[in-house]
Symmetry: D2
Subunit: 350 residues, 4 copies
């Protein structure tokens, strides 16, 4: 086996990234070395590339980014028992401490001491990535590699959709980035009876239609609240999945949820947002949930089962495929707002 | 308006029934008179027809049976506000007392003092039926009459399927009478990832296939436990919906449910059944639920929403359509085991 | 029986109130006339008295206010079956429509068309009050009249405390008005392992101590967050019951709740409050609930059971007892901030 | 440190046990060696001592039994980080595999591949016991050693009581062995409003009274169903905790639970028991749960919090204290039915 590999590297604390040769990671007794087949790009990777204020606080270069991928096990540490060389795998990249209250009570997704591979440690935009055995997710070879590379954001969608009752309910999704788009498919697959997709970007709206949202609304040109009320007999929707993180979208979420409904918040916000607690929350008797990561590993079982059963068609979300060497081109493409999910191939697009 | 109507009547405490003219029911201030468009036949009606021991204990002739139907409002009492003449409706036929603990805490489906229209009072196998306003369910005219006439058993299925988590889970249904068959469609619509239908009757198995169960098994010729274990990686299914009420089916239910799984019991049994509590329940940490009726009115909202969204194809279950005059022929047809849901038309099949 | 009775009346749209003779209410077939034994005063009554902006929008004089009381049945309408003359009763004063989605799915406490007796219709600050049978709550004569008169706010507390898991959990209560004080007793009775009462008013803090809060904190002189973190091993509390409605209290609630914790909001706010959604809600994975009224009638069963079992000592909250004639004195007393629950006796304090 | 220690040993496959010197266990990198302060005796230990059919199938001598204890950390493996020498600890003795579906979805208490220390591997009836770090539970030194030694059965009780709603509910406990007796205290601490303790053994009934059960009933001399119905207004109890495993007790459980109630089954049965599914489960709409072990580690947090808050007085259950050398005397004492919890001290009773 070679000692070096090609990787995307953030070499120093400033905008940009390089693609260059680096050492292949060494693995410990409980680690798994995975040869990356396909990786995919998250908005977080663009924050790191752009070196925005969040990245300046959180990232310590040099770093190999990338936290969405699938691959094949290349080597395992001496104590690893659950996978072997050649197995097809993906991984949960939130490495929970395993010892805090949250980890010991089934809530490892909000571990107090979580470390994220690809953010706090070297990630998957490389030919090889090192993953602790506890975080490896073994996959059925029947699952397409393209889908296997996007389980991290698909898991965000599954976690959000299934965080409360959804069957036979109406659902609005505010914000149609990749996770919002995945959520359309997931909500439909688990029995949502109407999905309202709300998004300002026309490219995303077009994909939302391909994902078979029942209604695709542009809040810039339509009165979303009036439309929703008109289509729900004046009730509002049962569930809102907030995936934009924008003040207008959050405002809309509270305006269209029905009395007794649920708002699940996933979209990260950069500024404080004002709520009228009495009118928006208390009199309506609603429930609001903060959603983070994926349930370990309930969410992984759920999404694997849905994928294997053929319940999810995610292809419209995958808009670009490119060689990992062209990482910077991918970043530029993402900035245009015309791309959704971009897949990277370490050894060239197949 | 005429003063008499055609009705199926159980005239005295013995087997059989008559179709004859009777007085149209008088309504009180809070009642609704419905002109029946389509009624459908339940196994309970056959018990009444056959005058079996259950019927002998429960039924007080003369009685008009029938508790599954749809129709059009013909007249309303002076205090009725939620429907008006001409509205398309069905009804919840369990009339709960409204005053017991269960009724006052959202569990009216297990009311201590429930009366069932068509069992304890005159029912829907007639040109007209009287329903208290509280129990009327107003329907969108877009819902087909055939479906509208079977909301009672469809509601049993919806209540059972949604009595616990179901999305992204594997489900076995033991017993494919009409409710079991409906449950196949409902489970699929709300995201079950595999449905195992288990049934000894070949006619029912054929319909189970038409309802798109993933696996249809005959326990007389197949080792159901071995099959399920083989197809679930040795785990067993997440959920069993028991709809047969037969000791063998119940035995199977406990044998194939996974550790931590759910068994929801709907099928009524006529004899005691022995369980090994330690092995069957305690070590496996399972949950068992008794399911009765339909949640008032959560289940009605759920099934209406699923029907309106076009999530349920129930046609394979409807095997026979006949004029209400031919009620006795319907009973004989049911006894053959070759019919599933039989629809009755008071004024002839349209 | 007399035709007139003494009552507190808001005669016209301006500050103040009168105590004067008015007609005893007439009852319909499904109504109950209750002779009031004890009524108690809510902050809402002070808003009405003061004729503040909320009252100006909501109240239509002339009105008899008062929505907390107990009494004895004086007469019943012809169709009433659940109580009879002489029965000891209180009542749920939120009269739900019974026909909306929320009412029909066990969520009548957030009915879309609720009317409140004592706000939208004549209430209980009178010798007699008219209540629909559906809203009457029959009481065991063993329950003390003083407690029976405060079931409305006690029910708010019970509803809030029991809106999520509470046993073996740490709880903070922000705001110690009567409902917050009751919540201390309820949380302790159902197994909260530490109760932090947070309140700026020294009179209320003293009562919080009498209610046996484990820790009583003054946010003006203490660093509440530091104190809570120090006493919870740096975690924060499992549950916050927000009962102040003040921006500072809400800020505190989000600062001290642990990852994965619950914030239940009851205290009404008059202005928008800004939240940092990412830090306050999403990364922490918390759940926020709006709490309104009392569950009909789950909450009533719960509080009755707790009272009968002797699990609640509420006496410290009752600070004043006076004749209903002295209503205006009660209002002035409330304004001082030195009174908590004030009881009114229509026929003089016994 | 010495190389040998005193231990209770089951030397070969036949009745009885020896107390003798054996080697102190060696620890691996992730193990903790605990010096036992107090151990306590479980019914399981008597099965092993008696060499009954269950023991003959499950136990592979030589074995040191004992799975309830507390002690002080004597040594830690090189990778252990959560405790250090001198820490006061107990342990969860169910060692879950960590890799099966149940383990990875928060249900490790029903792990498919669990091993129990003291049953499948050497246990705590010895001066030292080896525990994997993952299973160590660090204790506040304020918790009394006697209580710290009985966390395993107390945890069974906490898990059972808190497996469903309990606050403001009536509870019956069938069977007052140590776990049933603990359940009385736990149910009271978390807001049960009436506890019915049902037990045939007079010594246990006496302790049930000391534990402050509201009603203590002898099913041999009293009509338990009639008593419960009389005291619950004819409803039955909200919750039954079945802790006897005897057919009569299970029969009683189904007879006294109310419509919509919960039966949580913990008591192990040795023979099949017949149920009338229609009458006992389905029409009543009840929920039945199999309860196994303790939730890892939710239950441990809960019981620790309750103990630290002083919410549980467990002393009446501890009937005997003896030197570990007298183990066989303890077994004989247990056989009399006059002892409840027997504590063993490796170095003599302090």
């Amino acid at each position: 086996m070679a000692e070096t590999m090609l990787a995307v590297v953030k070499p120093e604390p400033k905008p940009g990234a390089e693609v260059r040769d680096v050492a292949i990671p060494k693995i410990g007794l409980t680690d798994v070395l995975v040869k990356v087949k396909v990786a995919s790009v998250c908005g977080t990777d663009l924050h790191i590339y752009n070196w925005d204020p969040w990245a300046q606080r959180r990232i310590h270069p040099p770093l190999i980014p990338g936290h969405e991928f699938c691959g094949v096990v290349a080597a395992v540490g001496g104590e690893v028992t659950s996978v072997k060389e050649g197995d097809f795998v993906s991984a949960e990249m939130h490495v929970a401490c395993g010892k805090c209250l949250q980890c010991r009570t089934g809530e490892a997704h909000i571990c107090q001491f979580v470390k994220i591979i690809g953010v706090d440690d070297n990630g998957a935009f490389a030919e090889y990535v090192r993953i602790p055995e506890s975080n490896i997710w073994k996959l059925d070879p029947e699952i397409p590699q393209e889908y296997a590379s996007i389980l991290d954001p698909l898991g965000n969608a599954v976690h959000t959709v299934l965080a409360g009752e959804i069957a036979a309910r109406t659902v609005a999704i505010t914000g149609c980035g990749p996770i919002g788009l995945f959520a359309i498919a997931v909500a439909r697959a688990v029995g949502a009876t109407a999905v309202y997709a709300i998004e300002t970007n026309q490219y995303r709206r077009k994909i939302a239609q391909q994902m078979k949202a029942d209604y695709v609304l542009d809040p810039k040109s339509e009165d979303v609240r009036a439309f929703v009320m008109d289509h729900t007999g004046g009730l509002g929707v049962d569930v809102v999945l907030e995936m934009a993180g924008h003040p207008d979208a959050i405002r809309t979420a509270f305006n269209i949820v029905r009395r007794g409904g649920r708002i699940s918040l996933l979209g990260l916000t950069s500024k404080p947002i004002a709520l009228n607690f009495s009118e928006d929350i208390i009199f309506k008797g609603i429930t609001i949930q903060g959603i983070n990561g994926r349930r370990m590993y309930q969410t992984w079982y759920q999404m694997t089962a849905l994928l294997k059963a053929g319940k999810l068609d995610l292809h419209p979300v995958i808009t670009d495929r490119m060689s990992m060497k062209d990482f910077s081109k991918g970043m530029e493409r993402l900035k245009t707002g015309e791309a959704s999910k971009i897949l990277l191939y370490p050894n060239g697009v197949k």
